[in-house]
Symmetry: C2
Subunit: 361 residues, 2 copies
DNA sequence: ATGAAAGCGCTAACAT
DNA sequence: ATGTTAGCGCTTTCAT
């Protein structure tokens, strides 16, 4: 009876608040920690401790508070907690786009790993132009996240300055630079381009070409690929680069098909194509099939990403595997460690890449 | 000079805070609205108005505040603003998984539309089991978002109750129910199944089969498909359902290949397959190609999703188009309207679907 | 182990 | 148009 009437009193309180009972009141309704504390017969701070550091309160108090929470359906206001404690447990992730499924795994791994540690992910899409990134950055910093995960490295000095000034841990991903804003998890696009050229050469290919998204990272891979190929004698005599076709990012299967047609028109003698994504490579394979070009007999194809479908193609696709999941979980680790006060020993992590040999080369 | 020394004074203040100068001070460092106001020579609330409702202040004040913002690099603390104003400008989105690219478009459209209105998206992955959803929900409600967008309808009565109690606008998506928690944007999975059966029948198919993800919505489509097919006489005599193969969600190309093999083994006479995703359908097409089964000659294939690659396949894939982008932008609209106080007139929106006829049937 | 007081940085309400 | 005051709901600091 005692307890019930107390509950009633608390509920009456809240109900009064909902109606804006007192003049000047701005309370929104819904139970607060004070309500729970009152119900449990303790001070608000004790209720807070019961919820956040259960070890710091007596078993009796713990039990009473938990009962009050259950009775009220109380859900802590993390906004208020964040403001008071300067820890938002929010991490921002910025990707150029979610499509073009390269970043999916990273975002997924990031979200999962962080969720496991009680953090949540705020998503931002910057597009492939840098213009939107600055506005987005302010919106993000305004939320005072405990970390910011960026796709790609930060070019704009303005953005760098703002990021630095915010004091928020930053992880740049999917690329390498000797001068990161803060932490870094990525791999070298230049090395990939060179390694693929080397690989195709070792397989006896002598007339290679590339189809590439026109975003900055893909272009750097394509350039490195072309340079290495020229060095290895895989360009036509007198030519300083291999045939290449730039398509708008994000890359699609259709781009792959039209890319191969274009390439074949310009250079019918090519014997291998490096595609800047597996989707592009699939397009090439489909175009080849439609044009009765044998793969790998007449044309070798190598993709990038090792997406889930690549191993199941016919023939299975040779590709450069990049571990997007590892990028996401490593970035998450970095931020969790940092925000728990541990210093990250080696805040620059080159995850590398692997050429997965399958039947398409 | 005047201004400069004022800036210095303000900076000195902040610097003192950073070091925890005063005893008991918990300030984190970084400029606050008070600093900006002091620099501009106005009261904090005036600075606030200059930033949020520029029309409500004089040109002179506006200019001074803007100058102070520029000088300091001040970024408003949205956490504090949200707490005070009860508007977080945060919207939570929950998807089973980001992979299985059905939900990508929705999340993308949601993020973009909301970003345009000054909102940001918090992402949650629930997995395909309901168990994680409840915990996730509390984490979300705790942030007091201005809206919650759910993928699929809410089954658990517990979750319904909590959602309702929170008073937060909710949009359920990708499905239809007469009893939504709040708002709804989706389409009928049952109607799709029936429509596909009807469509295949009209194309002269008489031995149809299905490959389907084993999540709840795909199963309902498959069941409706089978029932309609039986009604139309497309099952074997004496059989009450058509051959079907359930694969684990999210669906993959590999699942499509193995699914077709399994189906062919159990029922070699099938002349059409309904796949619960375009990726599955692509797998079927590749398996058919590898086994020299002509599409659509020997076997018709119809997918679901109309993903970007589907039109570019060989042959182009007939599929059920679902406008994931419209789902996302409509959900965003609903939430923006609600949170701006407009009541949403028709909070239940059936976006329907379209069968896109291409060459694979 | 528990509590009182004092904010976190901002904005709603009520003056002027 | 601008300012004063009083919170938003929580947690820190410093007692006890």
């Amino acid at each position: 009876m005692e307890k019930e009437s107390l509950m009633n009193a608390v509920v009456a309180d809240v109900t009064a608040r909902r109606k804006g009972g007192r003049q000047g009141s701005r309370k929104a309704g819904g139970f607060t920690l004070r309500d729970v504390a009152k119900l449990a017969g303790v001070a608000p701070i004790t209720a807070s401790r019961a919820l956040n550091t259960p070890d710091a309160v007596s078993a009796k108090v713990l039990q009473k508070v938990q009962a009050a929470v259950l009775q009220t359906g109380y859900v802590p206001n993390l906004l208020a907690g964040a403001l008071a404690s300067q820890k938002s447990r929010l991490v921002a992730a910025v990707v150029p786009t979610l499509s073009g499924p390269m970043f999916l795994q990273t975002v997924e791994a990031l979200t999962d790993t962080l969720a496991g540690a009680g953090y949540q992910v705020m998503l931002g899409q910057s597009g492939y132009e840098n213009s939107r990134e600055d506005a987005l950055l302010d919106a993000i910093i305004g939320r005072r996240p405990d970390g910011i995960v960026l796709t790609g490295i930060t070019r704009s000095p303005q953005a760098r300055r703002r990021l630095l000034a915010s004091g928020i841990p930053v992880v740049e991903t999917w690329d390498l630079t000797p001068t990161p804003v803060d932490m870094l998890v990525g791999f070298s696009h230049e090395k990939i381009g060179a390694a693929v050229a080397q690989y195709l050469h070792s397989k006896g290919k002598r007339r290679v070409a590339a189809i590439s998204g026109d975003d900055e990272r893909s272009r750097r891979r394509a350039t490195a690929f072309s340079e290495a190929a020229v060095r290895l004698g895989m360009a036509r005599p007198q030519e300083s680069e291999v045939p290449a076709c730039l398509v708008t990012a994000p890359t699609t299967l259709g781009n792959g098909r039209s890319g191969l047609r274009e390439l074949l028109q310009r250079a019918p003698d090519i014997d291998a194509v490096f595609c800047s994504s597996d989707l592009l490579a699939l397009g090439v394979m489909i175009e080849a099939q439609a044009s009765a070009i044998a793969i790998p007999g007449q044309l070798a194809v190598i993709g990038l990403g090792d997406l889930s479908f690549s191993r199941d193609l016919h023939p299975p696709l040779t590709t450069v595997r990049i571990d997007g999941t590892a990028i996401g979980s490593t970035a998450a680790r970095f931020i969790i460690d940092r925000s728990e006060g541990k210093s990250v020993a080696e805040p620059i992590c080159d995850l590398g890449f692997t050429i997965i040999e399958r039947a398409s080369v």
